[in-house]
Amino acid sequence: MAQKRRIRRIVAAASAAVLMAGLSACSSGGSGTGSDKAPYAQWAPTAKNKAAFESFSEKLKGKYEGKTLNIVGIKDPWYAAALDMIGSFEKLTGAKVTYNGYSYNDGYSKEVLLGQQKSSQADVIMYDMPWIGKFAQTGFVEPLDDRLKKADKDLLMYDDFYKVMRAGAQWKGKTLGVPFAPYFTMNVYNTELLGKAGVKPPKTMSEFESACHAIKEKTGVAGTALNNQSGTPVGQAYFEYIYNMGGKPFASESPDQPGGDYYSDMTPQFSSPQSKATIKMFKDLLDCEPKGALNIDWNSRYSAFATGQAAMIQPWNYDIASLGSSSKSAVAGKYAVQPDPTASGVALNTPVGGWEMGINKYSGKKSLAWDFIQWFSSPAVNAAFMDDGGFAARYSVQDNTTLQKKYPWLKVQAKVVDTAFPAFRPQVPEAFDIMSQLGDQIGAYLAGQKTLDQATSDADSQIGSMLKSAGYTVH
């Protein structure tokens, strides 16, 4: 009896220990767990860069023992790979790095509030390209121009960063961030379903629409899945298609704008024929999308394709990256990637987004933050990050043959990278409001609450008046 009781006690204690271990792992706040892939120097693209990287790593050894670096960012699919890199940085420098990752909307709110409070809680700020205007306006993220000038050119290889990401990190002539995880959209299609339907991969938007309906009709499977959910998802979707439909969202927001002055005339163009055609296309495609199409957002768009319930999508590359894994995707080995389709005669304009790292103006650990940014965004670590499930921010990483073999879609990305327009989503402080308000209007149209004319005219007047009161030129 006593022995039974003892055994029970031991089992209870062991269970408690396992539970505690589990809980402490869950509540570690995202601190990097690390990998033994360091020093990553083998990924350096040139001998000079390799030498510079090794020398930089040598200087960092144990330099920040006992110090803590706080990062605020989001939990996108590269999160696990970022934690691996962070773990290596911790081992190298002795610093403890805490990564606080949020969802997209919550991450934005958190960072705006930290800036408002002039908080020193975060040292490194990760931000999406369209947020830059907001952070520049509040002065939350400090300019990096002086640091970039003084940095070791062989280590930094600044021109190796994608041109569009370098441009996207600039606000009114100042550089506020360093890119590390850029996103591009591409058209991904299920080769098996297209074959069954006898449809060729679409190159134009009208071919895309016809293919969508044909696939649904001939196979019973949805032809596509678009981000139709009200608010930010469908608001962003508009920006992802408008340029390739031959239109533009605001009078001066176009890659052809002389002098790159994209925000000189912010008169909304949501009622233009191209805008209306784009929004109407969203509605016309609902018939060949999966059930529940009005609630599709980024995740459900991906899952519809990955589970074989939609034949074509235009996702960000972070979704494409995991399609090849048979443990995550039912279409592994049955899909192909190509550039996004465009309207006939319209030059490809690949949507771009993704993450940059900046330094909090109010941080008390700016040197540590800058060393981390230089290390993390270096060609060698960026390549290791990509290899581990992250993203290429540099030409040298994208052109790496080992990585191209592992991620064949990287070759398509290499083709479209330089067709991207950094301001395809406005980078003004009001960007988030614009996308949400536009998304509400498009959502109301898709749900049958408004006509197309009502929705586009309300979007023009609401967003126009918001921008006018913020001081923009709106006619």
């Binding site: 009005l294 609630n295 609450q449």
Partner: protein, 307 residues
């Protein structure tokens, strides 16, 4: 012999000449709580009230202007906002009676079997949804009601019934939200009503039965009047909770399709924390607060009035 009424008795029990030091000590003991309540409740409310009279936007590097009642005028003249108030009202008037009626019926079952072995375990398990965070329930139902992978659609299809697009059909999405909320909160109503049923003395039930009151008559002439305060309490709690429905909408529909599930708390969140229209969001919150206070007062007067 003089008969004292209750207030007289209380007055008589009071010490007529309580020393000032005792009074001061009492105040000193109560003071921290008063200060705490003021800090936690009154200060934010006053701050919101002041903010609602300005064009304050969190995160904007622009000067704040006093705009008077402009935000309030914008709220009451916006068709979208009026529709949002209407939608929230709809949630309350449909979900609240549902919670009360279903809660009452289940409470009756519990009451009938309350002496059976294992009944307390069933009551505890039944109460589990209340203990789950609203966000978890929302995520759970997001999957259950998912048209592609959801178990609800699967079961209906297996039974040969059409599976609606629970959260994606603009005509029924708001009712799906109500279903989720009712599922989560009905157990609370049940437990409170069950307590109320247990509080009705057996002699009273026996007397009613002797007087020839049937089951239906007993419900309306005995149980409902005797549990008026209990029902009032549930209506108050559930009403406030229904007006505050937020996380369910956030994780299942984000207010869509279109704006068909955009309810007040979600709109306040969007205005204050997505668009950072702090002044405007505060105005919506203050109007909502006034409505909640007025409705609560009406309910309190009706349910808690002395006979």
């Amino acid at each position: 012999m003089t008969t004292l009424t209750t207030p007289d008795r209380i007055r008589a029990q009071r010490t007529p000449h309580r020393p000032d030091s005792t009074r001061a000590a009492r105040r000193a003991f109560v003071a921290p709580l008063i200060v705490f309540l003021a800090l936690m409740s009154a200060v934010p409310t006053i701050f919101s009230l002041v903010t609602s009279l300005t064009d304050y936007k969190v995160g904007a590097d622009t000067p704040v202007h006093f705009v008077g009642l402009a935000n309030y005028v914008r709220v009451v003249t916006s068709p979208e906002m009026l529709a949002t108030y209407g939608r929230t009202f709809l949630v309350v008037v449909i979900a609240l009676p549902f919670e009360l009626i279903v809660g009452y019926l289940i409470a009756k079952v519990f009451h009938r079997v309350h002496e059976l072995r294992g009944s307390s375990l069933i009551r505890t398990v039944y109460l589990l949804p209340v203990m789950l965070p609203e966000i978890v329930v929302g995520l759970l139902f997001g999957y259950i009601m998912n048209t592609r992978v959801g178990v609800l659609g699967f079961l209906l299809s297996a039974a040969g019934l059409p599976a609606p697009d629970w959260l994606g059909d603009p005509r029924i999405a708001i009712f799906s939200i109500m279903m989720i909320v009712v599922w989560q909160w009905t157990p609370l109503a049940t437990v409170i009503l069950y307590g109320g049923l247990l509080g009705i003395p057996g002699e009273v039930r026996e007397a009613a039965a002797l007087d020839g009151a049937g089951r239906i008559r007993s419900v309306f002439s005995l149980e409902v009047p005797m549990m008026r305060k209990v029902i009032g309490l549930i209506a108050l709690l559930a009403g406030v909770q229904l007006i505050g429905t937020f996380a369910t909408v956030l994780v299942t529909t984000q207010g869509g399709p279109g704006t068909t599930t955009t309810v007040l708390s979600y709109e306040i969140y969007r205005q204050a924390f997505v668009f950072f229209n702090t002044g405007y969001g505060s105005a919506i919150a203050i109007i909502t607060l006034v409505i909640v206070i007025l409705l609560s007062q009406l309910l309190v007067r009706f349910a808690f009035k002395e006979d």
